[in-house]
């Protein structure tokens, strides 16, 4: 699998570390932490995910990947992703 890093370009997936669903947002209050830490959707289809380009530019990315066939629809820097 190849992942197009917005800075480095097209790279082998082995350079990246997978984290998971990019949707959960860290709660501002003490409520909602259980969901934030533990509850995850498992969609069949496009999913926004956090990947770390650990052996590249060391940026956290939001990768939109189709979980059915690994088609990658888009990659942006996580710090620039609209959340």
């Amino acid at each position: 699998m190849r992942i197009p890093c917005p800075f480095c370009g097209d790279r082998d997936a082995s350079e990246f570390v997978y984290r998971g669903d990019a949707a959960p947002v860290r709660p501002q209050t003490d409520e909602g932490f259980f969901d934030y830490v533990y509850l995850r959707d498992n969609p069949a289809g496009p999913m926004r995910e956090h990947w770390h380009h650990a052996q590249g530019c060391r940026n956290w990315l939001v990768v939109t990947r189709d979980t059915r066939d690994h088609t990658i629809h888009g990659v942006v820097l996580a710090r620039e992703a609209s959340r």
Binding site: M1, R2, I3, D10, D12, A13, V17, R19, R26, P27, D30, F33, F34, Y36, V37, Y38, H50, H52, A54, R58, N59, W60, D69, H70, T71, I72, L77, A78, R79
Partner: protein, 978 residues
Amino acid sequence: MNRLATGGLVERDKPLRFSFDGRAMTGLTGDTLASALVANGVALVGRSFKYHRPRGLLTAGPEEPNGLVTLGQGAAAEPNTRATVVPLCEGLTATSQNRWPNLRLDVLAVNQLAAPLLGAGFYYKTFMWPSKAWEKLYEPAIRRAAGLGALSGQPDPDAYDRGHAFCDLLVIGGGPCGLAAALAGARAGLRVILADGDLRLGGGLLSERRRVDGLAGADWAEQAVAELAGLKAKVLTRTTVFGVYDGSEYGALEELTSGGARQRLWKIVARRCVLASGAIERPLVFTGNDRPGVMMAGAVQTYLNRFAAVAGRRVTVATSTDSGWSVALDLLAAGVEVAAVVEARAAAPSAAAQAARAAGVQVLTSAHVTKARGAQLSGVEVAQAGGAVQRVACDVLAMSGGWSPAIGLGANLGARPAWSDAIQGFLIQSPPPGLAAAGAAAGRFDLAEALRDGDQAGRAAIEGLGLRAPDTPAPSAEPQDSAVASPWRTPQKAAKAFIDFQHDVTVADVDLATREGFVSVEHLKRYTTLGMATDQGKTSQLNGHAALAAATGKAIAEVGTILSRPPWLPVAIGAFAGHHRGRHFRPERRTASHDWAAAQGARFVDAGQWKRAQWFARPGESDWLTTVNREVTATRAGVGVCDVSTLGKIEVFGPDAGALLDRLYINTFSTLAVGKVRYGVMLREDGFVLDDGSVTRFGEDHFYVTTTTLNAAKVMQHIDFARQVLWPELDVQACSATEQWATYAVAGPNARALIQRVSLDIDLANAAFPPQAAAKVRWLGAPGRLVRMSFSGELAYEISVPARLGEAFVRALFEAGQGLGVTPYGTEALGVMRIEKGHPAGAELNGRTTAHDLGLGKMMSTKKDFIGRVMAGRPGLTDPDRPRLVGLKALAPNDRLRAGSHLLTLGAEARTENDQGYVTSAAWSPMLGASIALALLRRGPERYGEHIRLHDPVRGPEVLAEACAPTFFDPAGERVRG
């Protein structure tokens, strides 16, 4: 010799000597091992997997199920090598497999008599009971009887190389279609890679007597390859593409003949791919169809035309395809006697039939071979439409049951192939992005069609990449008929009619599986093991599906076919490992003073990828414990030096650096004064401890973080996540500095004296440089960093110098320390001293402990938010009944406490529900003269003084210990202030 005097692509003036089963033979340059065996009249090449039936070569290509041999001897032996793809070379030694004592007399052939017991699913049925007999009796017996070649059991002496390639167009298969596609692409300026498993390109052109653009097929192929080379296309011969992966990545294996490595594993990224992998001929299914002498018609033709090797003296051709007739005509043209052509269809192709009859060949239509006669083929029985059966004497049967496009790679990513009535085979329905099948792989079997199709596929790739295809014409050939009859229908009650030759699966097995309810193709495969041998069913899959269709009364289209996963051909694990084996299994990290440590007698231990000095044995010390005790005692009495360069080091900069660290650690760092260091603990968001370490402030907007060795990368990633994802609004910059600094812990009562001798240009007096002080220093003009902190409980400093100078610095320390009793100590002594002081480390920071568990709960700030704060307050994590950190001291002086022991109260039965916790770290304390340990004990801090049983049923008897505070040595902490 069965070699023709003329013709073929072999060099008669370049003979090659080789041996098969110890028999010396001669072949020719250009031969494969298989063709040389045919030319030497060898019909029997192996014994079958389950029944040990004698087998001969079935095919002439990579799909070969029978002709598996072991090449070479000793450690370099390569078992299960297909004789059909091994180029013959001088001195080659090949041995047949799966027979004992020899190929002709195989004792285990009696398995044939037990065939009724070894039918479909025998593995699941026969050996169910008693279960104890499995390991001792059944499995060894099966392993001995069933099987292919044996591994040498010795380390693989070969090297394996790795390659990466990128191209616009990858063409898989170097036959006429693939060459046409590659030519089109290369002429348009595309970066083209053409990969083919064969040593020589041309595919079917080398086997058939056909002409392309007015040239003999092989000559045209040679010209095409020369043109491709001129166009800078990369032509990889003996290279099999074995897998298609996500993101247009392809795996390929190149067989190397020179250069020191056996194989090269290629990872190819291709924007477009033409799958021109051709088609595989299907066997006919009848009683005894596995007898030596029964071969694929296309194989007989390849041996004849490419290798000038004749498989027999009198050949019968049994066919349901037009291509079978061209084999008969080629044999006649070469002067080989053809006894009969058995045509399954009602009408034979008229021109070919006429020519055959004219040559005296018996032509039988609406006819089927029902039985092969003779252990070595002596003739066949043929049934005609009316039911009449006649015998035909022959020593070779050339059979053709149609062609299956070789589309396995196209289905690698999960697309199920679809049945085509037009070609009576399966085709790729929805290929992976960027890939298109062409030629025979797309069901276009005739040469003229395949050339045109390849050219068009090349052009489609060019246009798909937004370029213009040149106006050059496609290569052309005279069209020929390539009709195929519907595939073979199950003959009723055919005994020993084989479908999967390599796994010995017969029609009867498929019938049995069907009766037992295994009616999906995927279940049939697993229950009968059809298609699961090393050949992955290349010749057997479709016949298996046809048999299933017949047994269930369905059409093949309805039955469907299985998915195909990589690898398309067997790939040695060594090829995947490449350079990464033995001590290069993973890259090794060495600290700056590694060589110095080795010279001091260090024994190294793995800490992640790092090599760390575990202890420094001195001459005369035969026991590691003696060494470690000496290192601890010398450090606590004088001064010791430990290389702690492997700790993770992270620079954190920016106006908001303090704010970020406050959110990362349970304690507060924004208030840390410049020039001070503080211990800190990080949690994961779920409330458990992630890591611990120190944070030093070197400037208003400059912090220096250390992590444990094993968590360095994880913490760096965690910090990046916090500043890039969680709080991108903070103005913080961070980078690793682990590799910049070589860091040494200098500990012991003489630590200050030692450091003063190495001129760091700093006042180390307690008043000027108290505990927790930090400063930038200079050593010989180079920048350095000094912090006063202690892991050992002694007066201690950590000094960092640029890694380039690490070895020079450690030498300077030891030179300066002569007379102070300076001693190097390793991770074992480090571990003993931190256990004596009750500091948690890796064994305690195991991902399942909270700050509270480790006695660090009071560090958790209540004045700020930090990662893990909320979840650490969960009832489950604040339960007072949780196991918490305590010390344990052995009651009897000679008892040894062991890490991993479980804790029990006195008198409690050793059962899970009575478990009170476990020992995390244990050591012999030379200071206390006792075995001590750190443990996680339920309500531990409330139980100091209680006697606890350490239960360790695997390694030894129970031991009694007393629970105590985890700080065993200098509990008041006087020594660090020294």
